[in-house]
Symmetry: C2
Subunit: 689 residues, 2 copies
Amino acid sequence: MKTLFYPHDLVIVGVSESKGNMGRTIAENLDGFMFTGDVYLVGRNRGRIGTRIVYRSIRDIPVTPDLAVFLIPASHVAENLEACGKKGIKRVVIESGGFSEFADEGYEVEQQLLNIAEKYEIRFIGPNCISIINLDNGLVLPFMPMDPAVMQKGMVSLISQSGGIVFGGLKLFSCENIGVNKLISIGNKVDLNENDYLNYLIKDDETGIIGLYIESVSDGRKLMQIAASTDKPIVVLKSNTSKASNEIASFHTSALAGNDTVCDAAFAQAGMHRVKSFGEMADLFKIFQLPPMKGSNLAVIGRSGGQIVMAADAASDNNFNLIRFPEELLEHIGEHARARVIRLTNPLDMGDIFDLGFYAEVVEAVLAEPGIDGVVLQHLHGRGAETEATMELIKNIKKLSFQYRKPVAFCLMTERDEWFPLKTSTDFPLFLEPCCAIQALAASRRQAQLKAAPPSPLKAMKPVRHPGKSIMVAGIKETFELLESNGFKSADYKFAKTKENAVEAADKLGYPSALKIASSQLVHKTDAGGVTINIRDRTGFEKTANEMYDNFASLFRENNAEFMVQKMVDGGMEVILGTRRDPEFGPVVLFGLGGIFAEVFKDTAIRVAPVSENEAEKMIRQIRGYPLLAGFRGHLPCDLASLKQLIVSFSHILMDSPEIFNLEINPLIVLNDYKGCISVDARMLVNQC
Amino acid sequence: MKTLFYPHDLVIVGVSESKGNMGRTIAENLDGFMFTGDVYLVGRNRGRIGTRIVYRSIRDIPVTPDLAVFLIPASHVAENLEACGKKGIKRVVIESGGFSEFADEGYEVEQQLLNIAEKYEIRFIGPNCISIINLDNGLVLPFMPMDPAVMQKGMVSLISQSGGIVFGGLKLFSCENIGVNKLISIGNKVDLNENDYLNYLIKDDETGIIGLYIESVSDGRKLMQIAASTDKPIVVLKSNTSKASNEIASFHTSALAGNDTVCDAAFAQAGMHRVKSFGEMADLFKIFQLPPMKGSNLAVIGRSGGQIVMAADAASDNNFNLIRFPEELLEHIGEHARARVIRLTNPLDMGDIFDLGFYAEVVEAVLAEPGIDGVVLQHLHGRGAETEATMELIKNIKKLSFQYRKPVAFCLMTERDEWFPLKTSTDFPLFLEPCCAIQALAASRRQAQLKAAPPSPLKAMKPVRHPGKSIMVAGIKETFELLESNGFKSADYKFAKTKENAVEAADKLGYPSALKIASSQLVHKTDAGGVTINIRDRTGFEKTANEMYDNFASLFRENNAEFMVQKMVDGGMEVILGTRRDPEFGPVVLFGLGGIFAEVFKDTAIRVAPVSENEAEKMIRQIRGYPLLAGFRGHLPCDLASLKQLIVSFSHILMDSPEIFNLEINPLIVLNDYKGCISVDARMLVNQC
C-alpha cells in the first residue's frame, strides 16, 4: 500500500492541453502541492503542458512509473488497465465514474477490471472516486483545483466512501483548523476497500487519528478485527441508515444497507467511535489531538456563569464528576479574585477576573491535582483589547495540557472578525461550546479505557449474504439437544404422539404443566393457539389435550405433529437469547427481557459473536430492565453468573456450526438465587446445503 | 415596559472621568451605537466627559429622565433608588452585583429595593446584570465596550438570566450572521422577571423570534400562559438541570432548580422549543427566519452524494417524507444533467452539474410542486471560481423561498477564506450541514402545527413552594370517595374492624378477593406485607386475615387500623395516574403503565394541569408501552376513551382543591373493550392548614 501513497513517479491518463481538463488539473494540483516525484502525462492528443509532454499511450512513457491515475471514460478503463499490466505498473487509481453506481451492467465491467488486475497483480482504487490526497508528500490526485493555502497538515487521516465527503471534510477542516494527513476517496471499492486503507493508516506513522465515512460495510468482521488491533482512535460516520437514503446510496456508491443496530453494537464492540454528523466528527478529531481523559473527574473553569452552568449539565449527562477543588487552590484563587463578588466552586466562575495570565495559573494548579483527569476552559474573548492575551493563553494552555498529560478542552467564542485569526494562530484545537467539548471528552475517556482493556479479537468469517431457499426449521427436540450439549438446561419435557401418552407424560413430569404442539409446520405456535401453560391437574390437562388435538387434527394426522409436554418452571425472570447471521458482521447475539419487554420496549443488547465474559456482563447490565434481574424491591437476584456463562456459550454455537442460520431461546428462565437458567422454548433455522 | 427599551433620555449613575470606568464605557457605547436620546451622567466626582457634565447626584440633573442606569457598589444602590423615586424617575437598570447571588444577606437588601420601588412605583431590571442592548435605537447599556461593526440588526431578541450568555450570544450571532434586535440580561430578577420581558417582546413589532436562557423559572404557569399566547416562536435554553450545575447557578443568579422532566413537558405543552446548546439555538433562530414548514414532505437537493445520504437519514429520523419527484421535473433535470452518470431521486444528487443557475431552477421547480413543503439545499462551494455564482445562488434561493412561502434550508460548506465573506454577503440564514438544518425544520413544522392548533390556555395559580410539616396522609376511604365524586369507579370494597367482619365482607363481595391493611401509619403497605391479593376462597381468606392481624396487631389495637377487603378485578391493564404540585408549574399530572413499567422503565408522560382531551390522548400515545393498551397481539384494546376522560377529570382535582398536595391512583385498571377503568388503590397527601 505504501507505493500508493508514496509513489516515486506516476502517470496521469486522460490529459489534454485544454484549460479545465480534469487530468490537467491533477497535474496542476501536484505542482501546487509540490509533489516531489516525477509526473508523466498521457492523452489522446499528443501535446505539451508546461515542460511536460503529453504521450499518446501508457506504452510510450520512457519509464515504468509506480502509479497510474485514470480520468477517462468508463469504456476505456479496461484497455488502459491492461496497458498498465503490460507496462508493469502495479498500482492504479481509477477516478472515472459510470460503473455499478450508475447501472447494473457496471458490475460486469468491474468484474472484468478485477480479472485484469489479478492477472497482472495490480491493486487499484475506485472506480468512481476522487482518490488520494496525501499532504505529507504533496500527492494530491483529485480532479478539482485544490489550494494548499487553506489546508493544514496534521495527524488526521480520513477514508471516505463518498468523494463529496472528502471535499466537505476539507472545507470543514479548513474552517475548524484541523490538520489532515491523508484523505482517501474509495469509490466503488471494487478491489481495495475500507479495510485495506484502514490497515495501512494504522501502520502509517504520520497518521494519529483515523476517520471513516462509509455507506456500506464490506466485511464487518474484518473491519472489527482491524479496528480492534490499534491504539489509534477511529471515528466512524456510517450513513445510509434509513430506507430513503438507502435508495440514493445504492446509486451513488453501490452500497448495501445493513442493520443499523448491529452496526452500532459492532462499532462500539471493536472500540470505534461512532458519530452522527460532520460536526461531531470534527469535535472528536480535535479531542484526540489532546492527551487522553483517563478518568471521570473533570474541572470546569470559565468566565460566563451561564455557560459553565450548561457545562455542569453536560458533565452530569456524560457521567463526569465535578469534584471539589482542594482548599489551598480555592484560597489562592480567592486572593486573586475580586473575592467580594465571586464564589469558588467547580465549575469555577472566573467572570470577574480579567487577567488571562491568571487563567493559565488556575488551569495549571488544577492540572497539578492528581485527582483531576481533565479540564474544560470556557473563554469569551474580549475583541481587540484581549487579542494578544488570548493568543498567549491558548499557547500556555497547550503547553500545560501536554506537560501534565491531561486534556484541556479550550472553548472559544468571539466575534466574526477575530474568529479565524485566533483559530489559525495555533494548532491547538479550539471548541465552540462546553457541551460539545464534554461529549468529546467522554469519547476520549472511552478511548483511554479501550487502551487499558482492548476489545478481544474476533475470528474472521466469510459473510453469508444469501441464505436462499434451503433454510428449514429444525425440530424442537434437535434444538433442545443442541442447546443441552452447549450447557443449557431445558425445562423437563416429553413428547407424545397420542392424547393418552401425553396425559401419561404429564402425570410423570408433575403439575402444573404446559402442553404444546411440536410441528415444523407451526413456527409461531403461541399465536396459533398451539401452546397452553399452567395446566393445574390431570382433569385440566385431559381437557386441553382433547381440544388441541381437535384443533390441530390434520397436523397430527398428516404431518407427524406431536404433543410436547413440559413441567412448568417455578419463579425466575423470562429472558430471550437469540443469534443470527448478519450479512455484514456474521453471527450476532441478542439478549433482552422476554415477552413484551423485547417486543414492545425493544429493550435488548446486541453483540457480534463470540461474546467474552466481560461483554456478556455488559450486555446484561446494559438493558433498561436490568434492575428486575438484579433483585428488585426485595426479591432475590437472578442467577446472573449462570446467565453470563450461557450468553458466552450461546455466542459460540453459530461460530462452531456453519449450518445454523438462526437460533432463539424464548423464553429462557433465569432462576433466582444460584439455581441457573432453564430453556422453555427454542427455535432454530438450519441451512440445508 | 416600552419606556425601558425606548427611553427619551437617561442618566448613568456611577460615572468617572477615568478611562476604563464602566459607567463611562456605557456612555461610549451609547454614542457608538448612535443612541438618539439625551444622556446624563452622575458620579461621585464632578467632571466632564466629552461635552457632557458629570453631576454629583441624581437630584442635580436638570430634567427627569425616563431611565436611570446604576453601576455603583451594592451598598449605595438603595439610596440612589430612593433618589430616583424622589426625582420622579420610574425605570431603573441596576447592573451592580453583590446581592443575593453572592450572600444570603443580599436577599434583605433586595427586599428593601422592592419596597422602595413599590413606594415610588418604580420598575427595575437586575440587580447583577448587564441589562439591555436594543439595536433598534442604539440603547446599548452593558458596561463592556461594544462594537456595532460586528453586529447585525435583525428580528431575534434574547432574554437571558446570565450576562455571559448575552455576550456569548452576541459573539455566536456575529459568527453565524444572525441579526438581533433586543438582548436583555435579567440578573437576579428581583422586580421584573423573564415573564415581564417575554410579555413585552411578544408585543414588540421589531421582534419576530424570541430566545430565552433561564436557569430557574420564576412562575412556570405564567410563563406557559404567556408563551401560549403568541404566534412568535420561542426558543428556550433551560440549564441548571444537574446537581453540580445547581450549585453554581445558585451562586450566580440565585436559581432554584426545578424538576427538569416537568420543565420539558411544560415547555412543550406551551409550544416553546427547548434546545440543549447554543448551537442548536442558533439553528432554530435561523430556521424561524424562513417561511414555515407546513407539512412533512421534504426535498433534499445537493452536490455531495455522501451528505445527501446523511440528509436522508436525518429526514427519516425526524419523520420527514422524501416523496418522489414528478416525472416532468425529473425529465427536465435529466436533460440538463450529464444524464449518463447521475440518477434522479429524492434526495437528488446534483454532483455532476456545475451550473449553479440550474440549481436555482431545480429548487424553483421543486418549490412549485404543491406536494412539497420544504427543501434542503446542500452546497459545497467551489472556492474562488464560484464565489459570484454562489452569492447569486443564495440571493435567488432567498427570493424563491419567500416567493413560494416554503422554507429552503441552505447548507453551505467552504474553506475558511470565504466563510465569512459568503455568510455576510446576505441576511439569508446559512446552515452548516443537512442534519442540523433538518432538525431545525422539524422545529419549524412543530411551530406551524402550533399555529394551526394553539395550546389551550392555563389558569394562573400561585406557586406552592413549601408544603411544610402540615402535610398528612388522607385515609383510603376519603381518597376513594374524592375519586368517585370525580367520575372514577373503585374496585368494590368494604372495611372491617375484625377478622370475622372481614371474612363476612369477602363472602359478600365474592372471590377472588384482596385483603389490605388500611392505616394512615402504613403508607407503603405492599412493601410492609400489608397487602395480599388473589385470595381464592374463604379458607384462604381466613388464613390470610389471621396472619395479617397477628403481624399488624399493634396497629389494630392502638391506631384504629382496619381491614380493607376488595373484590379482585378481572383482566385489563394496570396504569398509574399521579398528580402533585410542582413548585414551579403547579399541579402536574403523570401517567404511565403501572408497576415496573413506571418504576424501572420510567415509561411515563407528564403534563401541567389541567389536561385537555387532546393532550390526554397524546399522553396515552406518548408512552412506549402504548401498544399494550391499544390491543397487542390479538388482545382486545383497552378502554382508552374512558381513560382519556379520566385523565382530564383527574387533572382538575388539584386545580379545584387547593388543600390537596399529592394524589396517586396505583393501579388504575383499564379494562378491555368499553368497560371503563377501576381504581384499585390510591393515596393522597393533604395540606392541613
